[in-house]
Assembly symmetry: none
Homo-oligomer: 411 residues x 2
């Protein structure tokens, strides 16, 4: 089976956006053992889209398009596919009803142009869109499969994984990837530790990838079945874990937040946060996890000295004596927020996110992170680098990692 991807959108040809949809779809198709031979990008232009479709039909078995399914005049994909295949467009009454309901539930009137989102080429299967108004389309025509997907990645990705992949034919060989996430070690030090293993290993391959504040190891196995691939991956993961130990904190879709959330839930411990330089980013990261209300007590974003004093009950004099960015104030924040929110654990973060506010003594990127438990308060000093957002992100990652290492040793 040969597949081909056609992305539409003048913004791609103007260089305003990058074609991440083609990357995503190619990766998923490769995992299924389906070869992708071509990517094409055309603008919102019916003549050129028609040419691209005719060419694709002449050389590929599976054609997947992204974009051009919305309500506006620029959205031409469905109309052009129907024209090329000489199929009439027909109203899908059920989707039309759903659209009307969707608009009504938001309290807004559905405008006329939205009705065209309920049109479907005759014989096509409508693929519901859980994250937008434009449905996807599945069309089998002679010996070809044509799949039309909406352009926004947040709509295209779940639709493809949940609704299109199960419909696609499977091939003889499988490719399965696994990502192991490593924290607390730089890329070169990870590569150093793993040099022999990486050199000796051809299946799965191991590719280290430097990320912000962490390193990802991408393992890719090829075998006759997914099960065989998984076995190969398990073997390699065991070898890597023996070498890196606790530095491997997560796998694939797991994040530092989800790992910590799981450990907190498992240990039935509640957590409260006092954030200064991370400004709520740690709270945001943890509350992104569904069910976080079971362990998340409260978060305080106390930027100013006044807020630290008023909300956390740390005396202003104490803050001025030690400086707001100090181990003492970090420790006080952690233990006070634990008290104030009546939680089992408290995290306190104070530092200088920049770009201004640094001194020779206390430069931008200096961050103190403290963890208060029922029995102890520990504090670590970090020197991060990078832009304001990067420093916030590294601090959040390090705070969660401190918490993770504490929770792990609870057993």
């Amino acid at each position: 089976m040969k597949a081909e991807i056609i992305a539409t959108g003048t913004e791609l040809l103007l260089g305003q956006t990058v074609n991440t949809n083609a990357r995503f779809l190619s990766e998923k198709l490769a995992q299924m053992g389906i070869d992708v031979y071509w990517h094409t990008v055309v603008g919102d232009n019916a003549v050129r889209l028609e040419a691209a479709l005719r060419l694709a039909l002449s050389r590929s078995d599976i054609i997947i398009t992204s974009g051009g399914l919305g309500p506006t005049m620029d959205d031409l994909t469905k109309e052009t596919v129907a024209k090329v295949l000489q199929l009439p467009l027909e109203v899908n009454a059920e989707w039309e009803r759903q659209l009307i309901n969707m608009f009504a539930s938001r309290g807004s009137k559905m405008t006329q142009n939205n009705y065209k989102q309920a049109l479907l080429p005759r014989g096509a299967k409508l693929i519901t869109n859980d994250y937008g108004t434009a449905p996807g389309i599945w069309l089998e025509h002679r010996d070809k499969i044509i799949v039309l997907l909406p352009g926004p990645p947040r709509e295209l990705e779940p639709m493809f994984i949940e609704k299109i992949m199960p419909l696609l034919p499977s091939s003889g060989s499988s490719l399965v990837s696994r990502t192991l996430k490593v924290v607390g070690l730089g890329e070169s030090s990870v590569e150093d530790k793993l040099a022999e293993i990486i050199a000796a290993q051809t299946n799965p391959t191991i590719a280290p990838l430097a990320k912000l504040g962490e390193v990802h190891l991408r393992l890719t196995a090829k075998a006759r079945s997914k099960t065989e691939c998984q076995e190969l991956l398990d073997e390699t993961e065991a070898k890597l874990t023996a070498r890196l130990g606790n530095a491997i904190y997560a796998r694939d879709e797991q994040t530092m937040g989800s790992v910590v959330a799981e450990l907190l839930s498992k240990n039935k411990l509640s957590l409260a946060l006092a954030e200064s330089c991370t400004g709520g980013y740690l709270a945001h990261t943890l509350t992104n996890i569904p069910g976080s209300s079971s362990f998340f007590s409260a978060g305080l974003v106390t930027y100013s000295n006044e807020a630290k004093s008023k909300l956390l009950g740390i005396p202003l004099q104490f803050i001025e004596e030690h400086d707001a960015v100090s181990a003492e104030v970090g420790r006080a924040m952690a233990s006070q927020v634990r008290e104030v929110a009546e939680s089992d654990l408290g995290l306190g973060i104070t530092g200088i996110a920049g770009p201004t506010g640094g001194t020779a003594d206390k430069p931008v990127g200096l961050v103190y992170i403290a963890l208060a438990t029922p029995t102890t308060v520990t504090c670590q000093r970090f020197n991060f680098f990078g832009k304001r957002e990067n420093i916030k992100e590294r601090a959040v990652m390090s705070a969660l990692n401190m918490l993770r290492l504490y929770l792990i040793q609870l057993g």
Copy 2:
């Protein structure tokens, strides 16, 4: 002049890398006023690359390829171009000497396969590569321009800017884009309001782009000079503003956060936040802005009823009576956080971010946002849809927009 970009590389078709070269080249060409009509990606395969080249020669004036110029067997671009144009490959003695020197200076011997990097189709101009061993190639053939660039972005980008752009024909015209950001109206309703203007308008063009919780209008003007472009953009912006008014909240690099931050600073007003379902995301968004400490008093993330009661002083009975997700509790959060943090303004957000916790009465996505000012407390009810993160994002956007509209009318 019509241009077309062909990227080669099996890694692109496997989804291991994203085609950033096409984005980069498209953006630069657009700035020069050269229209790009097609992007194509092919693997490291001579047959399919040949087909892509023949097709490109039949429809475009300028063809730019990226990748496939290196020393390995996979590198086929130069050979395939020479074959399609029926040009012999000849040794460029100077580059061969440079290659030998380059290897010698690194203390390594030049392997045999590296010699092919000094081969050039007859009549081509060699473009030196300051960051790698594979030179670029400039070829004028009949009325076509063919440019071959190395694949790695750190080689391709400086080579294109420094050495190719000066060689390309100037279209005598400039292209300048401007993005206007619209909030509070869906894509179809924006288009409805602007249908006449968009239809009547060819320069600048106006392209609506749906984003999460907002719509971007991308205006692109073409004229003889950048100044003329700016004038055209100003005219169109004035027309759009007349039609959409306050719904246009920002331009280009501005964000909702930066706009609100500027308005708060201008009015010398401080802000405190009480967040429930947004879980610190609003605090994070505002504290991402350098200098936010000048207006940001404090943020409380009060997920549980207990936290709302303990930290904000809202009686538990009041919360239970009205339900945590209610206009009453939203209003109480806004006015209490304003009191507790002694700030000029308070924002309170309470809702159901999902995926669980919704009921028929109070579904996932129901969010109350309240704004407390020195004189009033107002509350709005929203029904958002999408995933947990999307609901958080839409709620943050709407809260900031409420604040923006209040600050604007202060004058």
